[in-house]
């Protein structure tokens, strides 16, 4: 999303003066952050192919060396960590980073087997510290993922509360980017992971996770609370009738979650978040998640194939009518 609005015009619209002495250090910080971003773009390994390749290689190495967690993990951790600190070449750093990630995964898993609670608490401390000070993007992503999965495995017997809380935290992080924090990556991971985990559970037909999505009103309530956080962010700019419509939409979402599938509800909430934050990629992911959850929902119903066809046809007509309605509204703009 890029508009014709400049930053100066935007700040003027929001009554923020660039000549305010309080704003000056913040402006300098924003310029610095932008320069850092541009430096990152000069790195040939600052790329999706490189990221996927690195993660895949790190996971392969981790899986291969799982039988020797300390014998392989400690030397890799020390050597790669020390070498990464010294080296300046992008290619060598990329290489070392891959095996450093493998070593972190090996050691975390080994320690987690010995004491899950201590590892989770330590990860929480590291994650909080990494969110509050400027560390590498990769480090924040890795810490957030490790923290999420550690919490999930600790509370595996009762996963609803942690998954719901992660979703709420992620929603809040996306809708209210906090001052002096670098928490955008954890926010994405915390929003995505519960939905992806439920989807993976539905694909692999894991009974505990399928029941989370289909039979639990608690999961639906947690997803609906994401909608409530969105409402909190918007209610100042809404009129009374809009507030009622918004709340009615929230109740409809809750019913959708309770009676259809919590996954469908979660993906709809994710789409709304993406819409109100103008995030195109997030919108596409939300739509893809919605389609998957909808297909799994239809396949799980005890109905005939022709009735499934009628449901799909009705959905198609609904989308088409909605599209025609949008087209009718366009000339008035």
């Amino acid at each position: 999303m890029t508009t014709e609005f400049s930053i100066r015009q935007l700040l003027a619209c929001l009554n923020v003066s660039v000549f305010d002495p309080v704003i000056e250090p913040a402006l300098e910080k924003a310029c610095l952050s932008e320069r850092e971003q541009e430096t990152g773009r000069g790195n040939p390994f600052y790329n999706m192919i490189a990221l996927i390749g690195m993660i895949f290689a790190a996971l392969l190495c981790f899986y291969g060396l799982r039988s020797y967690p300390f014998a392989a993990g400690v030397p890799l951790f020390v050597c790669c960590g020390a070498a990464m600190y010294k080296t300046k070449s992008y290619a060598v750093r990329f290489f070392l980073k891959t095996y450093f990630i493998s070593s972190v995964l090996l050691l975390t898993e080994a320690c987690f087997r010995m004491s899950p609670a201590i590892v989770t608490a330590a990860l929480f401390i590291f994650l909080t510290a990494s969110v509050l000070r400027p560390v590498g993007q990769g480090q924040r992503i890795l810490l957030s993922l490790l923290f999420f999965f550690c919490v999930y495995f600790v509370f595996q017997e009762t996963p609803i509360a942690p998954l719901g809380i992660f979703f709420m935290l992620g929603t809040a992080g996306l809708l209210f980017p906090l001052k002096n924090t670098y928490g955008r990556e954890p926010a994405f991971i915390f929003v995505f992971c519960p939905l992806v985990l439920i989807l993976a559970g539905e694909i692999l037909n894991v009974p505990d996770i399928v029941s989370l999505s289909r039979e639990s009103w608690k999961m639906s309530a947690f997803f609906a609370s994401g909608f409530l956080i969105l409402f909190v962010g918007l209610y100042r700019d809404l009129e009374i009738n809009e507030i009622f419509r918004f709340l009615a939409g929230g109740v409809a979402l809750l019913f959708c979650g309770v009676f259809l599938s919590a996954g469908i509800e979660g993906s709809l909430v994710l789409f709304l978040i993406a819409f109100f934050t103008n995030f195109e990629a997030l919108k596409r992911v939300a739509v893809a998640l919605f389609c998957f959850f909808f297909v799994f929902f239809i396949l799980s119903l005890p109905i005939s194939l022709s009735f499934a066809g009628i449901i799909s046809l009705t959905a198609g007509v609904f989308f088409e009518v909605f599209r025609l309605r949008l087209r009718q509204l366009s000339p008035k703009e």
């Binding site: 402006l27 190495c61 891959t98 906090l178 934050t277 103008n278 066809g309 799909s312 366009s330």
Partner: protein
């Protein structure tokens, strides 16, 4: 009053993007509660509506397609009657009339296949699948020649490869006329000939100028050779690795130094990683190690191979971008 310097001025005059909005909040210029308001200010209504319409169109198409799928599957017995065949023929005629639309052009190509394959399913004629696929290929050639779409023109090649594969599975391999390794090498050779013919006629005829006609035969060669290496890795014997090596070197040389094509180079790189993986698997299997040791050695070497490929690809790509 503080006057912003040149860098800050340049920053302030930049157009707003989502990333800038987040940065404004993170750096403390905007309050977090103002983020949604700022995003609303930056939203381009016309653009949002255009994207929304596109998204809804996609969703409605998917819904209609899935509805058609469910109805066809539920009424499958209808296609076991003469009325079903007549319906397909009528649909094909309709597609021929409206083939200026992409959907009709592709649907026509698939309806030819449906009309060839369905009689066997309906009447149990015991027709041989590879013969049906060869017939589909010949009829598709006539359909594709008149088409302006490279995707449709590529379909005969896909049908031909499918026919060759089933010819191998149903006839050549069960009758022991040749082993799987040799069959894969011959399949690769046929696609290689197609590729060479395409490269030789490049610019002389417009039909095969599309890059898909380079990419698909190249992909087919790689897949045939990889199948050969997989068969060889599982059953032993053969010299497919040597063919893979020769193909990698010659194709790499051609697409790097003669006719530069970065996508083809990437495909050859992926192919190279895959056949070396098969070779590695075989080599590790020859060593007398425990299961854990073999797994550790194989997977860590494989990760090294992948990282080396990624580093090579990114470094070369970056140099190209710089040039």
């Amino acid at each position: 009053m503080i006057v912003p310097d040149k860098k800050t001025e340049a920053y302030l005059n930049k157009p707003v993007s989502l990333w800038e909005l987040v940065c404004l909040c993170r750096s403390g210029i905007l309050r977090p509660v103002d983020f949604l308001r700022a995003a609303a200010l930056c939203r381009l209504n016309a653009e949002e509506k255009r994207k929304g319409k596109r998204l809804l169109f996609l969703l409605s198409c998917l819904s209609f397609l899935s509805a058609a799928f469910f109805f066809v599957v539920s009424e499958w017995s209808f296609f076991y009657t003469i009325s079903g065949a007549v319906l397909l023929a009528l649909l094909f005629v309709a597609c021929s009339f409206f083939r200026r639309f992409a959907a009709a052009d592709y649907a026509g190509a698939f309806l030819i296949g449906a009309m060839i394959l369905l009689p066997d399913l309906i009447f149990g004629t015991n027709a041989i699948l590879y013969e049906q696929l060869f017939l589909w290929f010949f009829l598709l050639v006539f359909w594709a020649v008149a088409s302006q779409r490279s995707g449709v023109r590529l379909l005969p090649l896909i049908a031909l490869n499918a026919a060759i594969i089933f010819y191998g599975i149903q006839f050549v391999l069960p009758s022991f006329q040749m082993d799987a390794d040799t069959f894969c090498v011959l399949g690769a050779l046929l696609n290689l000939l197609l590729l060479v013919a395409r490269e030789a006629t490049l610019g002389k005829t417009k039909i095969f100028d599309d890059s898909a006609f380079r990419f698909f035969p190249l992909l087919s060669v790689c897949l045939f050779l990889l199948t050969g290496t997989a068969v060889q890795t599982l059953s032993g014997g053969g010299i497919s690795f040597l063919y893979c090596f020769i193909f990698t070197v010659s194709a790499g040389f051609y697409f790097v130094f003669k006719v530069f094509d970065w996508q083809a180079c990437r495909l050859i790189l992926v192919f190279c990683v895959l056949w070396i993986t098969a070779l590695l698997y075989r080599c590790v299997g020859m060593l007398s190690l425990s299961v854990e040791q073999s797994m550790a050695l194989f997977l860590s070497t494989e990760s090294l191979l992948i990282i080396a490929a990624v580093i090579g690809e990114r470094s070369f790509s970056f140099r190209l971008e710089e040039k």
